[in-house]
Subunit: 230 residues, 2 copies
Amino acid sequence: VSLRFHFDFISPYAYLGWLRMPALAERVGRPLEPVPVLFAALLDRWGQLGPAEIAPKRAYTYKHALRLAHDQGVPLVPPPAHPFNPLLALRVASLSRGFDERRRIIDALYRACWGGGPGVDNPATVARALDEAGLAGAALVEEATTPAVKARLREQTDRAIADGVFGVPTVIVDGELFWGQDALPHVERFVAGADPIDPAHLASVRAMPASATRPGSARPHSDDGSRSPA
Amino acid sequence: VSLRFHFDFISPYAYLGWLRMPALAERVGRPLEPVPVLFAALLDRWGQLGPAEIAPKRAYTYKHALRLAHDQGVPLVPPPAHPFNPLLALRVASLSRGFDERRRIIDALYRACWGGGPGVDNPATVARALDEAGLAGAALVEEATTPAVKARLREQTDRAIADGVFGVPTVIVDGELFWGQDALPHVERFVAGADPIDPAHLASVRAMPASATRPGSARPHSDDGSRSPA
């Protein structure tokens, strides 16, 4: 069963996670399936704000991502503007192709937004980023704007929400959800059958009641019986 | 200048961070200043939901914390109920005492909520947890419910918000804010003068404009000119 890697180009954490995924998938002997999703739709669904929507968290997130990129030994250069509209890039990344070509597409688009490129928020920059990777930029952009591809991105996002995805990057493997680039070592351990969580202990934790809730907190979707991810 | 460690007993990540702070402070040769803050008030201020307020994120957070505790080699056993009302425990932790006694108090209360104890959501359990650590539980609880101590917790929380604190644990040192237990290695490197962030690069990142915002997103406090933390 594959490692389903959910991402949006808008997230520097998803960028850092993506760069580590091919080697991780190879180490654990599982296919890697990239799943582009619209992060803004996840936020809408769960009534949550993104890191860029809270002033001090926005400032911190960029610094944190720069430090993590340094730790990981990879470049991280933000795009000219952020947040930006990632829809076209997500649709191109959702095109039906073999894994190798999808990886080249996603690598090219990530370089354009977090690797020092001109961003991916308009068709010309997206096409050029693809051209520079030896792909047929204009044709891919044209195909990505068809109704079928737009629907595919919506369906991927809806399914992610149904699976309990609330942020990016998120890996789902064998029904278990892992959120955040910092959880990738936990993914690897889980696939190797060495997850340290005792199922009985976990069951008791999950049955734990709340004894206090925040007065007036808006929790529009916290009690609707959505399937929990595992 | 001290390492100001902002925490709320409600957060398992703050618990994991707290356990690492005394040794970290010793390694970098800085005093450690515990700063209890009410996490719910931070969420209110920034219009954010906490991890326990989004169903799939709540389920994930407990698992993630259990895995991190395993990695760190420390016990993590959630309290009988969560979320719970942490106010009394935060007030006891805010009492004016020398560092050694404050550390004993905070250790005792953390053991009661994340170390397998009965929680800290009522005066009897709080007093007993303190008694078991050789402290005068009943007297500390009584002192913690005075108006002066209630005001101190409010002031600590207000100052944290003014400093840009949006989550727990958060360390502030030399005007720089670090959020999350995963950022503690970055704190240590920063204090040693080895933060990898290039100030000129950072300045350009921080001046980066947004080219898209989420339609209809409620961002009540994202543009009010609050002082950014660094």
